[in-house]
């Protein structure tokens, strides 16, 4: 089983995030950069699959030069190799362009599974896995809270608003996993050392046959016109409980017509 796990480098989800004033894209320097938390679940799930049935896991990331650190970080959980797609022309790409680049980077490499976390903690769109599946013409097996592989077949539990759907398809397939599908492991010292030496392919857009003009801020099909910080909330009422707090909350709820 050959598995590719796509990871995104994002601002730390516990930090304040900002847009850059100059071109209204994510300000990547404003916070520590980490592997998107939800992608770690995909790495863990991939490792569990190859541990049970053999194979190897490759980590892929599309992003600026610093994203190479996130590829190594993800490899150190126990993956074998990395692919880093980096090109200045990518700056400001929308999901449509990102999915194009990922699809071009993974196709023809013989992957049985292409795995993602169900969303990134910065953009939170949850659209790239579905777009990559559409571009590759592969079954889309997304929002999985359970993944089972049996021979050439994959079945998942797909999270829905009422519970979950059991869905099956053949391999190869594109999979996204939700938070808490597993407990991502901490990298062992041995794997951290191995990750430093793991083979890493650095790929440019021209290597992938993608024109620079079809990606980036200028090619995006959407445009951010303006942004602003949420205005600070006007100070509310704040009281110390002297035994009458419940009565005062009740009064407030009545005044606001909630009860």
């Amino acid at each position: 089983m050959k598995i590719c796990v796509c990871v995104k480098q994002v601002p730390d989800s516990w930090a304040e995030k900002k847009l850059s004033a100059s071109d209204k894209t994510l300000d990547r320097a404003a916070a520590d950069r980490v592997v998107n938390e939800l992608d770690e679940y995909a790495v863990e799930e991939a490792l569990k699959i190859v541990e049970a049935g053999g194979g190897e896991v490759t980590i892929l990331s599309v992003g600026p030069a610093e994203a190479a650190d996130s590829v190594r970080k993800a490899i150190s959980m126990g993956a074998t190799a990395g692919i880093h797609v980096v090109d200045d022309a990518m700056h400001g790409s929308d999901a449509v362009a990102t999915s194009l680049v990922i699809a071009q980077a993974v196709k023809d490499r013989g992957f049985d599974l292409i795995m993602f976390g169900s969303e990134s903690t910065d953009a939170r769109m949850s659209v790239v896995p579905a777009m990559v599946a559409a571009r590759l013409g592969l079954p889309q097996m997304t929002f999985a809270k359970k993944v089972d592989i049996s021979g050439n077949e994959i079945s998942i539990q797909r999270v829905t608003d009422y519970g979950y759907d059991e869905v099956k398809s053949s391999l190869p397939a594109v999979v996204s996993v939700v938070e808490k599908i597993n407990e991502p492991r901490y990298p062992s010292f041995k794997n951290i050392m191995a990750a430093k030496k793991a083979p890493m392919e650095t790929v440019s857009l021209s290597d992938l046959g993608v024109a620079g003009s079809s990606v980036g801020l200028g090619a995006a099909w959407t445009k951010v016109e303006a942004f602003a910080d949420r205005p600070a909330k006007a100070a509310g009422t704040k009281i110390e409980d002297d035994g009458s707090a419940a009565a005062k909350i009740e009064e407030f709820l009545v005044a606001q017509k909630f009860v």
Binding site: W14, R124, A130, F143, E166, G236, T237, A245
Partner: protein, 315 residues
């Protein structure tokens, strides 16, 4: 005015509230036209017409229940191609976002997710970074595909009726098969992402028992959904699917009750667009008080049971 297509979410013909909200949103941009797909779709027209839909495209084929995402995309792509609508509005659920994703590629159109408002000129308001930043954005290529967050606008009961137009689609062979649908046991409480009122607990609730004896009774007397901070779900005090935050659910209820929650970014990101916020916390310095319309520095174990009893006493 141009048509604005609204993808209807329904359970065997029972229309979800979010679909009625989307019709109200569509009316700000053009003429609301609903699209109802799958078993029961033909039973949706009355409710949709009453809430502003001028027309409902209906295809009740079972096929929509047998494969995820793709059949819905094929149907919408056909309607976009045949009718050139001004925009397509889709509920911002996980499924809805994936429909939007593939529809964008199918129609060579830009996609914007998690809209909280759409202006008449099609510019979209989004609350990003957990609501810390408010963005206006526009689709610049193709037919705008926009997913809209639940609770962004109130449904409008206009009392009209909708013309029903049945249609069918040539679908591609399925790549995935839904073999079973499993409904998780309902708590009897409203759905967390749709609820008008959410009562949440955090580290200060201190135990699973605290959720059962303090948080849930208050939620029930208010007819509210129960939420939890990551600290509480990580500790195993409340099931993970009720986590509100950066990872977890984003909610925007009329009233959010934060109890024993300090208000780390992780949590604020999931709830700071709530209209009214009430806070009970022992720590007067807790950052959650910055969001509070009404804040109490006190012990939730005494304040909340007292409040629950008082509200119960009013009924």
């Amino acid at each position: 005015m141009s048509d604005v297509l609204v993808l209807v979410e329904h359970a065997n013909g029972e229309v979800k509230k979010v679909s009625l909200e989307l019709l109200a949103m569509a009316a700000k941009v053009g003429t609301p036209v609903a699209v109802a797909l799958g078993p029961g779709a033909d039973a949706t027209a009355a409710a949709l017409g009453q809430h502003g839909a001028k027309k409902v495209f209906v295809d009740s084929s079972d096929l929509y229940a047998n494969e995820i995402v793709i059949p819905v995309v094929s149907a919408l792509a056909k309607l976009v191609s045949d009718n050139s609508p001004a925009a397509v509005l889709i509920p911002s659920s996980s499924n809805g976002k994936e429909v939007a994703a593939r529809l964008a590629l199918a129609c060579n159109s830009g996609v914007i997710t998690d809209a909280s408002d759409i202006a008449a000129d099609g510019s979209v308001t989004q609350n990003i970074f957990g609501g810390a930043t408010i963005v206006t954005a526009k689709v610049t290529t193709g037919t705008p595909i926009i997913t809209v967050r639940v609770n962004s606008i109130a449904p409008i009961a206009s009392g009209g009726s909708a013309e029903v137009v049945t249609f069918s689609v040539d679908h591609q062979p399925a790549k995935t098969t839904i073999t079973n649908r499993v409904a998780v046991e309902k708590s009897g409480r409203p759905d967390l992402s749709e609820a008008e009122i959410v009562v949440s607990g955090g580290r200060g609730v201190a135990s699973e028992d605290g959720f059962k004896t303090v948080i849930e009774p208050l939620a029930d007397v208010l007819g509210a959904a129960v939420g939890a901070s990551r600290a509480a779900t990580d500790a195993g005090w409340y099931p993970h699917q009720f986590q509100v935050g950066q990872t977890g659910k984003t909610v925007s209820p009329a009233l959010y009750f934060a109890n024993g929650i300090s208000g780390a970014i992780q949590h604020r990101a999931g709830m700071q667009t709530s209209k009214t916020v009430v806070v009970v916390n022992k720590d007067p310095e807790a950052p959650i008080f910055d969001l509070a319309d009404f804040g109490v520095v006190g012990d939730l174990n005494t304040v909340l049971p007292d409040l629950t009893a008082r509200i119960k006493g009013r009924k």
